[in-house]
Symmetry: C2
Subunit: 469 residues, 2 copies
């Protein structure tokens, strides 16, 4: 059985045993069974609890051995002391995939935790049983309406992001992005690790981009080999935390991870073609760009603004992150000069404001003209629109203008960066979703963040092209 | 007349002449008169337009000379060719404060623009007339319901931020912050410059923190002297744009600014005690911290999370920006150990999740306990709460918990960093405003951004203390 086949039941189980599931349900109970039912999981669920004959209407069993059928995935929710025994029962029952949820194993400070985790490992090692955890929120798969996360508020969306994490936090949101296409929280990584999951996502047709959260890696050699191979097929975005000595110690106590010097990680990631981000905002922005817009064919950026001030900020950002605010083609320049006030310095970035102020055309029409001219310029591989002073009730509307331009230029991404109060408060989410459906236009909060994210996509594309040479 | 007295009419005029104001009103007309009336300006307004006897019900005059009364402030909205003549008329009328709104002066690429701007300067130099602009959105003062910004959507709020800018963009929002306490867009800076405005804000009782947007400075020596003096009384946050050669050239064309090497700026800002930010997000975060929470008494940070993963990210950030994730006092440690699971590594950051999972107390009560213990620790000068897995309908509510703790510890700031979908989409703005009113609790998007902003405030406090020694 390949590693990918071993990992599959964690994300796509036909049947799940919930061992030690509580009878307590409702608000604050965080009952996994209740959560799974609410999320619409279609497989079979076997609650295991010696003190209940049913929980929320589902027949319960006193022990794993009492379950009459075969089981794909066991989720162990018992107190830590009995976990090794439960894992042994699962192995005896022939269950080959086990998630251990509880905390207080290698992540604890008393000796007992480490001993208990070692016991789990020695029971399963060589038995064909794979273990995710301990200290995990579990796994989730939006394509199967399946989530072990006890948080009922988790938003799931069928997006092509595969998440491999050592913290449950990323199962909620990565900022404003509904993250969960598919996700695995590895917790303490006593058995299943990042490399195993990378092998699963490598050829998974639902996954276009892989997000990694790493506190530590046990088998560095294998990780480099697998990650280096997978990154040649799919982009891998990495948030490696625990840079400092203090953070490393905390990571050790959070997930019992083995850690190493940060510069070594940096070099290793670069060597494997992995894309390292510094924080959660960057992770979120970059995943959005990979998911929702076409890849830039080069580093040439066109910046359109309604404000000269932020155009200059955008040049600073391009310089810092390695994109090129290209000179406009002479045809593009001439077309703009023909409609601009005579004194306007026409170039890139282009401030549309003077044309709007002095011209007789409607706001939206001026914007549409400007975007068209920029998108037609062969040196511009992506356009960033930094919007300010745009009125909500203007016609044609912002959405109409962007949709029309996106339709005409399917190969070039556009990013909208709105500095508007009304867009932030009321309409952004709505606008974002409408535009996202085009597969060409994305909304990101600021020009700086848009340029940083696009630059990393451009560099990754170059990496992929360099491999093809 | 002191410089501060010269600048005052730009922000607090008793009467305003709008010269060249259009008769066109309504959507997309950007009519300044209409905007001023809507915003509730209480002073007298004199529209000047030879082709109208009234505009939106306000009596109009054919020329400046025809205005029967004295005028505090003239706003010139005519095409650029006639601006020098209008400015001369204003001077003859005895108006000592003139805003020139139009573009195409030193910001233009044809020779005419520079010549016209030079003419304005030669008319006013030595005459006692001060000029803001050209190429400006004007000035605004929320404390007087006064704004020349033609954008009717501008949000004004009586917040203690004085803005000195070279772009109109910051008159809308600085991201999610309603920026305008008082603001001046200097545009091309043909006369009134950053130093003049700093002298105004220096002793202005409405202004607690000053935000600067700089593309270029003409009189560097005076700026260093004034800024160095003012920063000893009030924090000055600077966004200096145009770092690269390309951006410098664009700044030259945007506002005709004289620019210089970025490292020179960096050193100069540091020498004067100015706080430089890299982008608009940082500007917004930092202004919020200065405006809305008490100053930290030291660099000690306490980090509370519901997620070990983001606790480690917070340590990375503290290390990067120079705050200290302090060791807990032994009393604090012992108090937490008494209520935590036996295996939990109790320290800072503290993951509240295990206590919530294994304890019998309600979510909100566990959080309140944890916050209380942290805030009482003498080494902790500010607490950051990184929230995840919090349910909207839990009681006691998040707001109640935070309000109660804030009430008990008036001298220590708390920052809430929510990773929750429901908080981002629906409740954040509401929650933010409720908490802001306490003057102790702030909401910022991520731990990383909160730590960066707090670190700068802590360093500024040290600077102020070092001056007092």
């Amino acid at each position: 059985m390949s590693v990918a086949e071993q990992i599959k039941p964690f994300l796509d189980p036909k049947s799940v045993a919930l061992i030690g599931i509580s009878r307590r349900t409702g608000t604050e109970s965080l009952n996994v069974l209740e959560g799974m039912l609410e999320q619409g999981y279609k497989g079979k669920i076997y609650p295991v609890n010696p003190n209940a004959s049913e929980i929320v209407g589902v027949k319960a069993y006193p022990t794993v051995a009492d379950i009459p059928d075969g089981v794909d995935l066991a989720v162990v929710l018992t107190p830590r002391e009995v976990v090794p025994d439960v894992v042994r029962d699962c192995a005896n029952k022939g269950i080959r995939s086990v998630v251990v949820v509880g905390q207080g194993f290698a992540d604890g400070v008393d000796g007992d935790g480490q001993r208990l985790q070692d016991e789990i490992v020695s029971i399963t090692q060589g038995s064909g049983v794979r273990v995710v955890g301990p200290n995990t929120i579990g796994t989730a798969n939006a394509f199967r309406d399946f989530s072990l996360s006890f948080l009922k508020l988790v938003d799931m969306e069928k997006i092509p992001v595969g998440l491999i994490s050592q913290s449950g936090i990323f199962f909620g949101r990565i900022n404003e992005l509904n993250m969960i296409g598919k996700g695995i929280d590895l917790g303490n990584c006593c058995d299943v690790d990042h490399s195993d999951c990378l092998e699963y996502f490598e050829d998974d047709p639902d996954t276009k981009v892989i997000a990694l959260h790493i506190e530590g890696i046990r088998d560095g050699k294998r990780f480099l080999e697998v990650a280096g191979r997978v990154s040649q097929k799919k982009p891998i975005v990495v948030l490696k935390t625990g840079r400092s000595q203090q953070a490393s110690r905390a990571a050790q106590s959070h997930t019992g991870s083995i850690i190493g010097r940060d510069e070594v990680w940096d070099a290793a990631f670069r060597q494997c073609g992995l894309i390292r981000v510094d924080n959660v905002d960057e992770m979120s922005d970059l995943l959005k760009v990979f998911c929702y817009v076409p890849t830039m064919a080069g580093r040439g950026i066109g910046v359109l603004t309604f404000t000269g001030g932020l155009g200059i900020v955008a040049i600073d950002s391009c310089e810092a992150y390695g994109l090129e605010v290209v000179e406009l083609a002479s045809e593009t320049r001439q077309r703009i000069i023909d409609v601009a006030p005579p004194w306007l310095g026409v170039g890139n970035p282009l401030d549309l404001w003077p044309a709007v102020m002095t011209g007789s055309r409607r706001y939206g029409d001026s914007l549409k003209d400007g975007l068209h001219m920029f998108m037609e310029d062969p040196g511009i591989h992506a356009a960033i629109l930094i919007l300010a002073s745009w009125m909500e009730r203007t016609t044609p509307s912002l959405t109409d203008v962007l949709l029309e331009v996106a339709h005409s230029f399917p190969q070039k991404p556009m990013v909208l960066c709105p500095y508007e109060g009304w867009l932030h408060d009321v309409r952004r989410k709505e606008l974002e979703e409408t535009l996202r459906k085009t597969g060409k236009v994305l909304v990101l909060p600021t020009g700086d963040r848009a340029i940083k994210a696009l630059s990393r996509v451009a560099k990754y594309s170059e990496y992929r092209r360099s491999l093809a040479d």
